[in-house]
Amino acid sequence: MSLETVPEEIADESVGISPSFDEVEPESDEAPESKPNFVQRFIESKKPTKDTPKNFLKAFWPPVLGIVVFLVLWAVLAPRVETSLGELPGPVEVLQAGGDLYDEYQASNEAKAEFVRTAPAGTIYTGPPTFLDQILTSLRTVGFGFLIATLIAVPVGLLSGLSDTFQRAINPLVQIFRPVSPVAWLPIVTYIVSAVVTGDDPFLAKSFINAAMVVTLCSLWPTLLNTAVGAQSVDKDLLNVGEVLRLTPIQKLRQLILPSALPYIFTGMRISLGIGWMVLIAAELLAQNPGLGKFVWDEFQGGSSESIARIMFSVFVIGFIGFILDRLMGVAEKFVRASQGV
């Protein structure tokens, strides 16, 4: 085409004719000369605005004050509640319970090392799981359940976002199943898993699958619904551009729909992970999956004088891990979005 024959200087002239584009369009001044790569952009997005000590203080005194007020109120009010197991523990007792759990973990590790040294080869250590073991079990359970949920929810969500018929077909089911509590799912899941899973793999114990499937069933929905909204949100003109370029359905999905839907998918996944972690405790508690939920349940059943403090400590641990998981999802989202430029 004749375009190819346009020499560079003429091309430049074509810009020169219009009175300096920079003057005309003020925003263009801000435009960078070259695109920073996504790692730089990611790091940039993580930088606080100004890192002076004054700003630091300004930003941090409200949360610190909130925590201090909470601890003081707790310490003052807790001793006034007389339970069957004695006074409700205050912050100090709960911290001590945490220390005790750590000691138990150390002791158990030593016992395990001792066992490995003395026992004949081939035998498996069967001591009680430590608190840390239980945390890891819980993380594994949620990770597995959440993974399955995501693998189901994203394709189904995309499909329902792209096909009105499919959306209308599954909408009633989604609306009905979405509000169901994990406690109601568990018995059904237990029966199904017992019927389907027959293997004796220690990594895929039935209690583990039960808890993970309950996590899946409860954390499916936010990702599914958000993905559907994301797939619908693709700019109409952009789809027209895709038509003009005659994209194949696969190219359309990969180049138009997925990038447009990505922020929505991540929002959904973040909510899903939060819900998954939340329902895990209930699921484990009933499924007897050896994680944090079971720990809480066992302490409750055991009812020793330290139990309340230990349960309270695990509440903080559960909350803290949930917070970390949410943050990790946020970081993952920023990273993926920076790498895709969306």
Partner: protein, 281 residues
């Protein structure tokens, strides 16, 4: 429908090949690049109401290397007509031909530019322009060369690696034009290309488009509601009216191909503008 073929109507079968490599400046030839014959579009009435006739039998043509405007108020069906030519919508009746071949769907031979830029927000300027070539199966070195040429043509070489959101509206629209030009289309279809821009940027992009057209000789059909813009840029324009959408008048613009902003003070320009505005009122 029984429509005579474009060749028998114009009496020529060998259309000018704009992909040829000769460096001769090309002028609007007699050959028709685009032809619409009796294009009708009827929308079903909402809720079983009477059908709405958006376009009632539009006939128009665009010659090779010509810049033509479709001018009309909102709702006159000019965008619908452009979408039918682009293949994004289908006509209820009638025929659209590009180079004598009937249009049956969208394709890169009719590059489209929309009012709201519609760039891929996650692709750099370079990749936005290059993407269509990639899809069309161009080799890598051809792609790079073509994109670099176009970046020069639209004056955005420095911004090749920027993302669309880092650019101003005018710059984005220049990227969109470059993207539409990339696969060497037979005709460029512009749908209110400067409608989302402020008055100042709009004027400078009009200059830009005029220069681009003068240099590249690409055939352009542009939809606009701006009378001054239509007269200033086009060689010929069609005035459309609504209810039902139809072409009311075809006007040859009495200015040469290289025209400057001074043309806007020419008495013929002012008279033409007044008469068109009377018609649109």
């Amino acid at each position: 429908m029984n429509v005579p073929s474009i060749a028998s109507q114009t009496g020529t079968t060998d259309l000018v090949d704009i992909t040829s490599d000769d460096n001769e400046p090309k002028h609007a030839g007699d050959s028709q690049k685009l032809r619409c014959a009796g294009v009708k579009k009827t929308f079903k009435g909402a809720g079983g109401g009477p059908a709405v006739e958006a376009l009632s039998g539009v006939d128009l043509y665009v010659r090779d290397n010509e810049l033509v405007s479709l001018l009309g108020t909102s709702g006159c069906g000019k965008s619908t007509l452009l979408n039918i030519i682009g293949g994004l919508e289908t006509a209820s009746e009638g025929l659209v031909e590009v180079d004598g071949e009937q249009v049956v769907g969208p394709g890169p031979d009719r590059g489209m530019v929309f009012q709201n830029y519609s760039l891929f927000p996650w692709k750099s300027v370079r990749k936005n322009i290059s993407f269509g070539l990639e899809v069309a199966g161009w080799g890598k070195s051809d792609r790079v060369e073509r994109v670099n040429d176009l970046l020069g043509v639209v004056g955005l070489s420095e911004f090749a690696e920027a993302l669309p959101r880092e650019l101003s509206g005018g710059m984005r629209q220049r990227v969109a034009i470059a993207r539409a030009l990339a696969p060497e289309p037979d005709i460029l279809l512009l749908d209110e290309p400067f409608g989302a821009l402020d008055a100042h940027t709009r004027r400078s992009l009009q200059e830009f488009l005029l220069t681009l057209w003068q240099r590249t000789r690409v055939t352009i059909l542009m939809v606009t509601h701006d009378v001054d813009e239509a007269i200033y840029l086009s060689q010929r324009l069609y005035v459309m009216q609504s209810h039902p959408g139809r072409i009311a008048e075809e006007i040859e613009v009495p200015f040469g191909e290289s025209r400057g902003p001074m043309v806007k003070r020419d008495q013929r320009f002012l008279d033409l503008r007044d008469s068109i505005e009377d018609q649109l009122r």
